[in-house]
Symmetry: C2
Subunit: 427 residues, 2 copies
């Protein structure tokens, strides 16, 4: 696909708040803000570079604390205009950080265990955070259509956000997706296009479309808007620290799909430290994968710096990216912070979903089963320190992956009489 240069977009004067430029993660080359995602010098990934100079720590803290109960409370730290909260958007975030005392008891955690429960977002996954961010970039660049390729959560998030903000949406999915997932994406009334092919074919087609005049005015949230989109995950780090009373957790367990979320959580924590909003002390970041799609975990355990692609085969479909773009960065962060990357079997995922539901009343998507399952495994193996404050991410909602726990059912069937009730041993 053609790498657009910024000059051609004429978008260097956009107001995206503290976002100052795009900077190549590999070679450091800087270009003005625009709908581009790959470095023109080395083809490395571009990410947002900020100008946070001039912020007074306590003024900033007060401004955040008096902000809205969603991600826009952190507008001064995001690539969005200062008045972002006044614009129509899906307004995700400020989800619950649940003190999970029952789960802590079961896992033997004594230092405080928390679940950051992103099923509380508008379309019930963390994707609302990144899509809301991409939407603001799309608005700034004058795009009128919001698009993506997806097999699930992202389709709903894009459809909903576009509807709220008055954008056209056009979402591409494999044509043979399960009917339930199609309905969840189609209900928002945008274009929902089935592609005759698998998810790779869908992605390849989207890349072609971006380079073609037919794709002009289209913002693909996770392609040409990816640098902006990805920043949405920083808000998870901000919220966790603020909800802990402006304190870094000792340990965080994060699911790995492309790996972007984990790297942005690290970026967010580093920013809070540099801005003086939290005390500078060590923290460890742990990555969680399903065994059936564990390229990063495999590389971590083998001591490799590169990630060898895998063909996914797991019930944790929202994490099933066999060739994760940010895999090497994840390995670096896990090693640098003293964390680890681990994986669990599908059976352990299901057991962990049930464990979290039974102990905390939180019904997680399979991705949440992966993080809880990996947390348990890391504790059992002595890798994760149970005496430290630990935060586990649940990034989605169990209602979207009901099949994973389809075996769950009635504990008893009785006739509508007290005798039958007693016979069943329920009294």
């Amino acid at each position: 696909m053609a790498v657009q240069t910024v000059a051609s977009t004429g978008s260097s004067t956009v107001d995206l708040g503290p976002a100052a430029a795009l900077s190549c993660r590999e070679c450091g080359h800087r270009v003005p803000l625009g709908p581009v995602f790959a470095c023109e010098e080395c083809f490395g990934p571009l990410e947002i570079a900020y100008d946070f100079s001039g912020y007074d720590t306590e003024e900033l803290r007060a401004r955040i604390e008096s902000g809205p109960a969603n991600i826009w409370r952190y507008a001064p730290l995001l690539p969005v205009p200062a008045n972002v909260a006044d614009k129509p958007n899906i307004n995700p975030g400020w989800t619950k950080l649940v003190k999970a005392d029952n789960l802590a008891r079961e896992l033997g955690v004594t230092g405080g265990l928390y679940v950051k429960d992103d099923s509380g977002n508008p379309t019930h996954s963390f994707k609302d955070r990144v899509v809301a961010q991409a939407l603001e970039a799309a608005r700034a660049f004058g795009f009128t259509t919001l698009s993506c390729s997806s097999t699930g959560n992202l389709a709903g998030a894009v459809g909903a956000a576009a509807a709220r903000a008055g954008f056209r949406s056009c979402v591409f999915i494999p044509h043979d997706l399960e009917q339930g997932k199609v309905v969840m994406a189609a209900v928002y009334g945008g274009e929902l296009v089935g592609i005759e092919g698998n998810y790779d074919d869908v992605n390849r087609f989207c890349s072609e479309l971006i380079g073609d005049p037919a794709g002009e005015g289209w913002g693909f949230v996770n392609v040409n808007l990816r640098p902006y989109y990805a920043e949405g995950s920083k808000t998870l780090a901000y919220e966790i620290c603020e909800q802990l009373g402006w304190r870094l957790p000792d340990q965080i367990v994060v699911p790995i799909a492309s790996g972007s979320q984990l790297t942005k959580i690290d970026k967010g924590l580093q920013e809070l430290i540099k801005l003086g909003l939290v005390e500078d002390r060590p923290y460890k970041i742990f990555g969680a994968q399903a065994e059936g799609c564990s390229p990063v975990s495999t590389a971590f355990k083998a001591g490799h710096d590169v990630v060898r692609p895998q063909k996914p085969d797991t019930i944790a479909k929202s994490l099933a990216i066999g060739n994760p773009a940010d895999g090497p960065y994840v390995l670096d962060i896990a090693r640098r912070t003293g964390g680890a990357v681990e994986d669990v079997t599908d059976e352990q995922v299901v057991a962990a979903i049930k464990l979290l539901a039974r102990t905390e009343g939180i019904f997680a998507e399979t991705a949440g089963g992966v993080t809880v399952g990996v947390t348990k495994k890391l504790i059992d193996d002595g890798v994760l320190d149970p005496s430290k404050t630990t935060v586990v991410l649940n990034t989605g909602d169990g209602l979207k992956t009901l099949d994973a726990v389809a075996g769950t059912g009635l504990t008893a069937t009785i006739r509508p009489t007290l005798d039958s009730f007693r016979e069943a041993g329920l009294a």
Copy 2:
């Protein structure tokens, strides 16, 4: 079923904050707080009587505003101890009040249209509000099992809240419920008992169980804890007014199942007026039903004071109560405030779900389709004033009633080529 008297429970010294006593809605007879729900004098329904004396308006407002981002910010106005936020509970509420400008344009509302979106609650329905309330009463009365009869949302809310709070739960459902609904209730790991019979049989059995020694120590959230449970709906009124900047809306559209929610919203608004937290000015409350279960709407239109039971036949299952206990009170409130009760067909419910999703990115349960559909109908009929501030309730999540919009699907299917894309007219 035997009506327990309070003396036998010895629970008159429980600390439930400002809750002073139970008072009969029919004859005004007062009894001490306890797990009772029917008046021993006239068998009328008991409800909470409060002692709000000694509250200073501005102190109270400041205390609420600095409270947690959930229903416990209103602890001074609820039957809960002052330290309720420190106890393990599901902590629902403080859901979004969405300014629905796109929907307003489609419906011709110029005075400001808002959707109170209770799909943002922990188990994605307003039931979390009432169950959280019942749980605190159960704790105060020393119950150790939380129970209910249910065909859907309530089962999940009880299962989740009990899990978080460390209660045993035992939920009774008809044995032949759809597998998806069974899974949503079963995942929390409590007892889930299928009763061989229909929902009426389940209810009858639960009533027997309460009067039997086998049911000792059991809190049935919507039976012996009903006076406490029902108060949870007041928080919808509190939140709407606070989110409007401590202002009463001119018009509210509320779904009717038992009718309890509508009556408690009115109670909540009246309390805010009496406490001086909002200006005393007129408001109108409108009730919404599905045509296939419209006993209250039918009575309203016929000018009757009593509600004639109906046999429900509608896709809006969460509202399908054919003999609504609070029907007469709803009629009284709709007439007294100058509101109305209206109903829509299942087709209109589906169209309204899609309308709300397409305009605001909110995927509502069928009950939300009922309120949006009724709002549209009332505007079209000149009953609801489009120049006034109007709030419409969405009480549940579309993910739980996917079947209602199962007809929604792909807008196009193409091959993964730009030619195929152009042929489909998508460029």
